[in-house]
């Protein structure tokens, strides 16, 4: 049997040198005349250990080494890496590392484990069991399974996926679409990217199940252009699925037809908003549409459309294969199932952590994440991307749950947590939120387009110390207008980071006890 090692092809692992490591291994094996298969897998999501190389030993054990640099390769091979021998960088079974062992990996169970673009590997690890069941129980029962699982939109809005599917299924038969929102633009998030790069077939299966369930025969993945690795992996997987009869007409030998395409965005953050995304897919400027009509009634090209986030759709194969109850059994309050939480920014142990809802922010940041990598105290975390609130340590007892965060004037969004140490200037962060909104606003509604520009100007005055109280009052009023008057979440949620920074860190705005740091 050919020996096999895994060197991640995940974009973050590659950014940390995985391609060079893979090449060093290939060269070293060739020089030694060893026949070793190098599999470029997804990442296990522990980025402080990347590039994390895993080996399947002659006894079938799988052990890891990391973080590996190209210059370590010769010594590792000579030290008995292929036999899984203990030595420098040895990590043993990586699934026993506490960060990994404590997770509940439903959606990410195959990511990092399998060869992402091998359909055989996908099938060998439980792939397409969900579609099999969907075909067996039929469309309406499939929709009910998704509803009963309690799955809510993982893109950020948290709207029940089953209700979207019911609405589209109830529309008169005819052309319908499944659209996957893979425009993961929020800083601090990379779960969609890791699924597309690490287990693309699961997303394809999820979309196919959606197609069967609502009577759609065509799907589009709209992936952001900043993710070339994800686009390439998805295209390879779609081609393999089509070749094997899992896409196309009469999929998997059933009576259903479904095919899909990968489309690439062009650097507009607002296209992560669902109606803007649909406009972009249709070939226009990504201007947000007023709702109603809902995309479920009049979506892509005016047809009934299911539009779901990558993680929502990728959660469906598990729900169908294991049953709605298995998914709904874990969670917290009305947030059922698991959430892939992404620990990012200034954090010691950054990565992807999939866990049932209910874990507290403090556990995530301090215990699992190990605090900051600079070693300085954590001062603030931004949860939910550029439109999410900044939380101080005083709110670290907040459980990760849609409603609990809403109660504290925050949102969990797509599950990204960006950690900042005590060197952060929160007034600058508030200014950045306004600036980002002004750069990325689609321009359709006035509160967002003009409000964000005025917001930057007002923040500049506040930072410069010009009539501070007067300008803070204007900022609060402006935020209120943007929140209530904007057409979509870009203008509507930009006040979250701004107002939370002001509420929780008033000293950085010249209010309260501490003077504004002089620069």
């Amino acid at each position: 049997m050919t020996a096999r090692i895994y060197v991640p092809g995940d974009a973050a692992a590659v950014a940390l040198g995985a391609d060079k490591v893979a090449k060093a291994f290939a060269d070293a094996f060739a020089a030694r005349g060893l026949d070793v298969q190098i599999v470029r897998n997804g990442s296990r999501g522990m980025f402080w250990l990347e590039p994390l190389v895993e080996v399947v030993t002659p006894f079938g054990r799988r052990v890891g080494y990391g973080p590996v640099k190209p210059r370590d390769v010769d010594a590792l091979i000579d030290g008995g890496l292929l036999e899984g021998r203990n030595g420098p960088l040895y990590l043993d079974n990586v699934e026993k590392i506490p960060f990994f062992a404590k997770q509940e990996r439903f959606t990410f169970k195959r990511v990092g484990l399998t060869d992402p673009v091998s359909l055989d590997d996908y099938l060998a690890h439980g792939g397409y069991k969900g579609l099999e069941r969907a075909i067996a129980i039929g469309p309406s029962e499939t929709v009910e399974q998704v509803f009963e699982s309690g799955l809510r939109g993982r893109g950020g809005a948290g709207f029940p996926t089953g209700i979207k599917w019911r609405t589209v299924a109830a529309c008169a038969p005819g052309k319908k679409y499944i659209v996957c929102n893979a425009d993961e633009g929020d800083s601090g998030t990379f779960a969609d990217r890791m699924i597309m790069e690490g287990d693309p077939f699961q997303l394809i299966e999820g979309m196919t199940i959606a197609g069967v369930a609502v009577g759609a025969d065509k799907g589009y993945v709209y992936c952001r252009s900043e993710y070339p690795h994800a686009v390439a992996a998805m295209n390879k997987a779609v081609a393999a699925a089509r070749k094997a009869g899992y896409l196309g007409s009469r999929i998997a030998g059933s009576e259903y037809d479904f095919d899909m395409e990968i489309r690439v965005g062009a650097g507009a953050y607002v296209c992560g908003e669902e109606t803007s995304l649909l406009e972009s897919l249709e070939g226009r400027r990504g201007l947000v549409r007023a709702k109603p009509p809902l995309p479920a009634h009049k979506g892509l090209f005016g047809k009934p459309t299911v539009i779901n986030n990558v993680i929502s759709l990728a959660s469906v194969p598990f729900i169908m294969a294991e049953g709605a109850k298995a998914y709904a059994d874990v969670g917290f309050g009305r947030s059922r199932g698991t959430m892939p939480i992404q620990l990012a920014g200034n954090i010691k142990y950054g990565g992807l952590y999939e866990i049932a809802f209910g874990v507290t922010l403090g556990e995530l940041v301090e215990e699992l994440g190990g605090g900051t990598f600079t070693g300085r105290p954590v001062r603030a975390v931004q949860v939910g991307g550029p439109l999410g609130a900044y939380f101080p340590r005083e709110l670290f007892d907040t459980p990760f749950d849609y409603e609990a965060f809403a109660k504290k004037d925050g949102l969990i969004g797509h599950g990204g947590i960006v950690v900042f140490d005590d060197s952060v200037d929160m007034a600058k962060q508030a200014r950045f939120a306004m600036e980002f909104c002004s750069v990325e606003s689609c321009g359709k509604c006035t509160p967002c387009r003009i409000g964000s520009t005025r917001g930057v100007e007002v923040m500049d005055k506040i930072i410069a110390g010009v009539e501070r109280e007067k300008n803070l009052a204007i900022l609060e009023d402006l935020s209120h207008t943007m929140k209530l008057g904007s057409l979509c979440a870009l203008g509507g949620f930009t006040p979250y980071p701004v107002m939370s920074a002001l509420t929780h860190f008033p000293e950085d705005f010249g209010r309260g006890s501490m003077p504004l740091a002089a620069e």
Binding site: G9, A11, A12, V14, A15, L16, D19, A22, Q37, I38, V39, R40, N41, G42, F47, D115, V117, E184, G185, S187, G188, T189, F190, E197, S225, E226, P228, A232, A233, K236, E261, R263, V264, G265, A266, G267, A268, Y269, L281, E282, G283, R284, R285, G286, L343, A344, G345, N346, G350, G351, T374, Q382, P386, G416, V418, V419, F420, Q429, F436, C442
Partner: protein
């Protein structure tokens, strides 16, 4: 033997604009639903930018007004109106990278390359651009240099980028 998911970040040479080649590319993509973005991407992939002369060709082929195509073209940050420099350096400036010291790093890159953000240096060697998130937020600050990803951008990596840009 290497299997699995591999993407190389190498750059290829761009062709000079030719209307004939432009029409071919447009025709290739016309059967797609909502073909405008795929066409613009393909033109930029081939020519390195979307030449102004291509806009009326797209409009004719798709039975759209020039204004509509121009509107789409100008809405998106990705589409270039003129060729980029020989090297393209994108530095992430979003929150996760800021939290990891990105303000200092991005300023250092600008100094090392002697280039302002959003501009191409006068000698045409480099285009430096800010980018809002590469999805490398657990190994920030991050950059993309000629399509190649770099995480945990430090002084050594900046020196390497500067050396690459000199080549």
């Amino acid at each position: 033997m290497t299997t699995g998911h591999i993407v190389s970040g190498s750059r290829h040479a761009h062709e000079a604009w030719s209307p004939t080649r432009g029409r071919e590319i447009i025709a290739d993509h016309l059967p797609l639903e909502g073909a405008t973005l795929p066409i613009l991407h393909a033109l930029q992939e081939t020519f390195g930018y979307v030449p102004q002369d291509a806009i009326p060709l797209i409009a004719d082929a798709m039975n759209l007004s020039r204004a509509e195509v121009h509107g789409t073209f100008t809405f998106y940050h990705d589409f270039r109106h003129e060729p980029a420099g020989k090297h393209v350096v994108k530095i992430c400036v979003a929150e996760a990278c800021q939290a990891a010291g990105g303000h200092v790093t991005s300023a250092k890159v600008g100094e090392a390359l002697d280039c302002a953000y959003g501009e191409t240096r006068a000698d045409g060697q480099v285009t430096l651009e800010p980018i809002y998130c590469l999805g490398l937020c657990a190994c920030a600050p991050a950059a993309m240099v000629n399509g190649r990803l770099i995480g945990r951008l430090d002084d050594e990596a900046i020196d390497e980028i500067a050396a690459e840009v000199r080549s």
